[in-house]
Subunit: 383 residues, 2 copies
């Protein structure tokens, strides 16, 4: 059956930061802003998909009740770091399949201080290792992936560090970013070593925040005054195949699912990476951004290091990757990240990104991955 066109007519996000605000307060801000940009009243929403990793089973309802929205079907969705885009993908499907005209996707997280394994149910044994001084498990996995890449392709510590320099520089222009200070290559390399090759400036910080998107049909968008809305032209979720886990450290950090999700999106859209203008990708660690250049087909396998050396992935280059500052500098409140990436791309394609605007951006690509979970890749276009 033919899919319907799916549009994103409103987005919102809080500043990402460590803060004292309650999750209901964060969600209220993000959803209110998304509805205002869309020009949509809460009563027009037909379903809501709430993404978060930590918390009670029905936090989505609680957040909406807290802002006076009741009676709306809500699904609470969890997929670790790809939670936000999993909620977005369900929203996309509700519209693409023609069952709804307008739905809401939102994501949020109140994180506790400390490494990931201290915050997630079920990782108590790993958390005990962290108590004994072991590096955080995520840094170990993405560090090992980086070192495998160095061994296989000769990638250098400097090349990984350049990713952080770029994203921190981008975030100077993003008022919603947790960090907004540029740093030099020397500073990145000289910062505290967490797990080789990852220094602390190559690891995303601990963040609180929320983000939201109003997703609708083309007809609904037009009725609400959006004559030229941002469309999701393709979206795909992939998960690990069992054989991926036998591919060493790179297999463990989702390279296989990233490639498959990207490939599916390029095929669905009939648009390849060469036509993309702006990209938000999952740079939880500098190594993962560089490796993901290859998974998304921006360069051949093994050439990610050379790509960052040529300045092809920043303003003035072929693509601007992570104009928001990415997870590395903007922050990474788990459930919110996939919707914050969506917000940045929708702002960019609407020409609303102010000082960090990518000139003439028409096609955007989003990549959000969660270990042990899923990878969701999304292509946006504004004609």
């Amino acid at each position: 059956m033919a899919k319907r066109e799916v549009c994103v007519i409103g987005v919102g996000m809080t500043k990402f930061e460590r803060c004292e605000r309650d999750f209901t307060d964060l969600v209220r801000e993000a959803v209110t802003d998304a509805l205002a940009m869309a020009g949509v009243r809460p009563e027009e929403l037909e379903q809501a998909f709430a993404g978060y990793v930590n918390g009670m089973s029905t936090q989505g309802q609680r957040a909406l009740y807290g802002m006076g929205i009741g009676g709306l079907p809500v699904y609470n969705v969890h997929n670790y770091c790809s939670t936000g885009s999993s909620a977005l993908h369900l929203a996309y499907q509700a519209i693409a399949g023609g069952l709804n005209e307008c739905v809401l996707a939102f994501g949020f997280e109140k994180m506790q201080k400390g490494p990931l394994e201290k915050q997630l149910t079920g990782l108590e044994n790993i958390a005990k290792e962290a108590d004994k001084g072991a590096p955080p498990v995520a840094a170990r996995m993405f560090g090992d992936g980086g070192r495998q890449h160095m061994e296989l392709y000769g990638t250098t510590r400097e090349q990984f560090a350049k990713v952080s320099v770029k994203n921190h520089r981008h975030s100077v222009n993003n008022p919603r970013s947790q960090y907004r200070e540029a740093c030099t290559l020397e500073e990145v390399l000289a910062s505290r070593m967490v797990y080789d090759p990852l220094t602390i400036l190559q690891c995303c910080p601990t963040s609180d925040g929320a983000a939201a998107a109003v997703v609708c049909s083309r007809e609904f968008a037009a009725k609400h005054g959006h004559g030229r809305p941002v469309k999701i032209v393709a979206q795909a979720m992939a998960t690990d195949k069992l054989e991926d886990f036998a591919q060493g450290a790179l297999g463990m950090i989702g390279v296989g699912m990233s490639r498959r999700a990207a490939q599916a999106v390029y095929e669905q859209a009939g648009i390849g990476p060469e036509d993309v203008d702006v990209i938000e990708l999952h740079d939880c660690f500098s190594t993962n951004e560089l490796i993901t250049y290859e998974s998304l087909g921006l360069c051949k396998e093994g050439e990610g290091g050379r790509l960052i050396d040529t300045d092809a992935v920043t303003y003035g280059g072929k693509w601007v990757v992570n104009p928001s500052g990415g997870l590395l500098s903007k922050g990474h409140p788990l459930g919110a990240t996939g919707l914050a990436q969506c917000a940045e791309l929708v702002w960019q394609l609407n020409g609303m990104a102010e000082k960090r605007q990518v000139e003439g951006a028409r096609i955007g690509l989003q990549h959000n991955v969660g270990l042990g979970g899923a990878c969701v890749v999304t292509m946006y276009r504004r004609d």
Copy 2:
């Protein structure tokens, strides 16, 4: 846009009980049985919706990897006690909207001993009250709802207790039920008082278990040899409206959302309660079954007590309600319940329910509610 017909061609469930088996082992049994009944290979599944309340963010993937199924998009869905049917509702939408031909919904739970508030993230304060000897919070809420019903309509303790007698009697014929012993009205009333009017035999037990359903299009069903499959003819989710919470104890236990979800289903299907043959409804406590007779329109508001007195809701009556034994006797592993109800109805409509078969059952109704969460009502039919 017109919805496509949605079929359930395979179901499976483990015996519900307290057990030492790991959740991956429980899921393997339920999913394997559902696929076998459907005659579907894992490679034919396009998406999976995993429901559970407790556990890591990506338990759904872990369970599938554990049985050798990788590469399948998985959404982990949470909605407290309506989690299982929330996963089922997403599966329904994937088919109804025409985006998929065949998907999997499964639910599972490994519960810890003790009241609900000891097992759920975010209820730590209530758990402390339980430590001091307060009755479990769920018993208090559904007990208060029962007492409000007594005050408003003259319902008696005996009428509530009769629900338990009926469901325990039904479960004698269900080999997957946690309890399989009939009990008398006197025994129910004389068992330990948990919270007036709820004695322990009127409260669902603590259970482990898993259940699964293979959901597909009519065309897919036909290709797999299911010429006369069970169809989901209507399904709706409703959530609390803010004004419901002002309706006293009955408002707090989801009466409003139950009514709205049922009404939506009757309208979608063009079939009313009078045409239903067999019902699985959310009898977490005896009071809730009696009150739900009214929410589902089996009788008028306030007449639930009289309905149980007339034997209209057991074999030989107008409907058979909870032939499986219901949550009260079969057990209630939170995430599995909504899919176990589905399994029972699919077996009933296929004439596969053995000693507990409802003769000539053609139309089935499912009601699954989660507090603070959602109510999902589903109507099944086999022509």
